[in-house]
């Protein structure tokens, strides 16, 4: 088994996969806390358009994904609360983004495999450039997160009180959205546009059912995420089946099993943290 | 001797592990206008649902128009409290009223003069004809409430059950609705049961008050039922009633 790690592509996959999983687990914690899962899904669909449209500008699909998700994330951040309840509008925009994506795809390649790669992940075909780009942005994201961690937590749990205490809630909201965009672009690399939930939401959502305390929750989230990713990659390599299938299945099943289990074991533990006005 | 239209004997209702109603006995006669009062959770809306056949009593009997309650009884009109509707809903005022006429029949409504006329008459009766083609989402709370009442009246019911039609309306609109209901009820000789939080706008229209609290009830004239003595007995703890300038206030409790 260990000879696997002699291959560069596997080394790249594990390095990138580990870093990306860690970021997703932490950012995902906040996404669940702030009830912004829908925004996350929107951004990942938009990522598809960015990935396929990148070819027009001669960029790699990873760069295209980054640019597009960040731009749209800024848009979401700017619209702020006006997005709430606009399911239909957002759904229409998403569909259009996907339609545009398939158009770009057809223009630049008749290769359906590439579409599948973007939609379902391509961690085993990470290029050196992609690796460095994702490492760089990943570390930058982690760094930013560390700086804004405390005020972001405060603003997410109780935005009104936080604002009264001088926390720049709106600004943090925008910064977080951009962070989310970056994180999703990275997640797309590992599990693809359609399975982002597995890396971003599942570990964090499961962790929040296991513990109420933020730091414990986040650590659990990271641990779970790494379990899913490493387990998924090993299983995928062993069975010669797409890695994202295993990551997603492990993640989903863990959530679906763990949540009722923890509900039964310690029902008092699960008390949803107050959301203030953060619903999306 | 007035005809008995609703008769409850030893009515008991337990939902889950909560006893909502315990040994309710009362009779309501034809043409009466009854206000149903009581604190939240006392079972006021539940009582209406029992009369509509939406709930079954745990024990005891209900006779309404001489029969047991059943769903789909055209002789009973029902209008719940209006809710806030999406502004973009593609339904017009006349569509909503039209439900009262044939909303429960299979198929689609073929446009015909008779139908349009019936709906227009119903709209006119609640003074909403000029807004007939407005989308419902754009109507005010009071206007939507009128539609629901018009809808309930379209089957020419003998009984009208209204669940908190005056809540979330300001005083003048609430008064207008009360005047409307009173006028309609008198002209058609309908028995009206109206659940409300505040009896004051209704004092000049109602015959009796049905006060529900603590799984029990008391029915009678307002000045007999809403007294410190009667309510204290009902609640099982001291309650103070204050009457001033022709208005009644119950201290320390939802009316």
């Amino acid at each position: 088994m260990l000879e696997l790690f002699n291959h560069q592509f596997i080394q790249y996959a594990f390095i990138a996969g580990t870093l990306i999983t860690i970021i997703c687990a932490i950012v995902g914690y906040f996404v669940v806390l702030r009830a912004q899962a829908f925004a996350a899904e929107s951004l990942s669909c938009v990522g598809f358009t960015g990935a396929t449209g990148a070819a027009i500008f001669g960029l790699s699909s990873l760069v295209g994904t980054f640019l597009f998700t960040i731009i749209v994330a800024l848009g979401f951040g700017a619209f702020g609360k006006r997005i709430k309840g606009r399911d239909i509008e957002i759904g229409m925009v998403l569909s259009f983004a996907l339609g545009l994506g398939v158009f770009f795809l057809k223009l630049y390649t008749t290769n359906a495999t590439e579409a599948v790669g973007i939609l379902f992940g391509s961690i085993l075909s990470v290029t050196t450039n992609d690796l460095y780009l994702s490492l760089f942005t990943g570390i930058a994201a982690l760094f930013t997160l560390t700086i804004i961690f405390r005020p972001l937590l405060f603003a997410s749990i109780d935005p009104e009180v936080a604002e009264a205490r001088g926390v720049p809630v709106t600004l943090l909201g925008i910064i977080f959205m951009v962070l989310l965009g970056v994180t999703i672009a990275e997640a797309i690399l590992v599990v693809g546009v359609l399975l982002v939930f597995a890396l971003l939401i599942a570990p964090a959502a499961t962790a929040q059912h296991m513990s109420n305390r933020p730091v414990t929750s986040i650590l659990l989230s990271v641990a779970l995420g790494l379990g899913f990713t490493w387990g998924g990659m090993l299983l995928g390599l062993f069975f010669h089946v797409p890695v994202s299938f295993f990551i997603a299945t492990l993640a989903a099943l863990s959530y679906l099993v763990a949540v009722p289990l923890f509900h039964l074991v310690s029902p008092h533990l699960y008390s949803p943290l107050p959301h203030g006005g953060m619903e999306q | 001797m007035q005809k008995s239209i609703i008769d409850l004997q030893h009515l008991q209702l337990i939902l889950g592990n909560r006893t909502i109603l315990q040994d309710i006995n009362l009779t309501i006669h034809e043409g009466e206008f009854i206000a149903i009062l009581g604190p939240n959770g006392a079972g006021k809306s539940t009582l209406l649902k029992l009369l509509l056949g939406l709930y079954k009593p745990t024990s005891g009997s209900i006779q309404i128009l001489g029969k047991s309650p059943k769903k789909g009884n055209n002789e009973i009109g029902y209008a719940p409290q209006h809710r806030t509707l999406e502004a973009d809903l593609a339904l017009r005022a006349r569509d909503v009223v039209g439900f009262g006429l044939d909303g429960n029949k299979w198929g689609i409504s073929m446009p015909n003069d008779h139908r349009t006329k019936s709906i227009n008459n119903a709209l006119k009766e609640v003074d909403m004809l000029h807004l007939a083609d407005m989308p419902v989402g754009k109507l005010s709370g009071g206007e939507q409430q009128r539609l629901l009442i018009a809808q309930a009246l379209l089957t020419n019911p003998k009984i009208l059950l209204l669940d908190e039609p005056l809540s979330n309306l300001d005083i003048s609109h609430a008064q207008a609705i009360v005047t409307l209901i009173t006028k309609i009820a008198r002209s058609r000789n309908i028995t009206v049961l109206l659940v409300t939080h505040d009896v004051n706008p209704l004092l000049s229209s109602i015959n009796n008050v049905l006060y529900m609290a603590n799984t029990r009830s008391a029915i009678g004239k307002p000045e007999e039922v809403i007294t410190s003595k009667q309510l204290s007995e009902l609640y099982g703890s001291p309650v103070e009633v204050v009457t001033t300038k022709g208005r009644i206030f119950v201290i320390g409790q939802d009316l």
Binding site: M92, S95, G99, V102, A112, V116, L253, Y255 | F99, K138
Partner: protein, 270 residues
Amino acid sequence: MFDVLQYSFIQNAFLASFLVAIIAAVVGYFLLIRGLTFAGHALSHIGFAGAAGAVLIGVDPVVGLLVFTIAAGVGIGILGRVLKERDVTIGIFLTLALAFGILFLFLYRGYAEQAYSILFGTILGISTLNVIITAIFSFIVLGVLLFLFRPLLFSSFDPEVAEARGIPVKALGILFLILVAITVSMSVQVVGVLLIFTLLVGPAATAMRIVKNPYLAIGIAMLLGIIYSWVGIFIAALTNLPVSFFIATLSFGTYIIVRMVEPFLQKHYA
């Protein structure tokens, strides 16, 4: 240019999409009134797993779509509105469905092409058999919807009063979701799993902003759906670019234009 219309595969595409546009318009109107657009989204994702599974065992993907979406539709109907608030739980189920979908497809040799066509639609490749299947199901759905129209509309507007008037609200709700499932399965043939919104919700949402009369709104939605599909197919046939892209663009573009023009339409009501 117009001789492209002589080919039978184009005629098949026109016919199938015509039928789909009709039922999608009616179903879409009710989805919007009942606040269940998320169900359309969910059913199409779950359908993906079914379609992929069908391909794996050598059966027509539509069969897989129908089986999975109807089962899921009944499930959603029974579990009720409780599901709507649970974004995370729904999302995780959908993720699982998609993951299995990709597994099934991977195990089948030509998987990328099949995945692509299920995800984005293959109306230009629709077989005569599938057109017939689409026709049969469309007639069934339309017939049932016509029959259920009034009580369904009433219970969508006010389930409580509707039940008091003797309408079987819960049963209707489940039956409706089965009809949604069938419509989604048929629509996937035209626009694919990922773009289901453009045909299922787009035309109805647009029509509802133009008129407020339910029958007119549905009629306009049908018209819009047919126009989007036919124009999309025509251009795609000429340019060899994806049909679903054109349908999506037309659907989205028209919606935006109507939204912007809407305040001027409102003066009509003042």
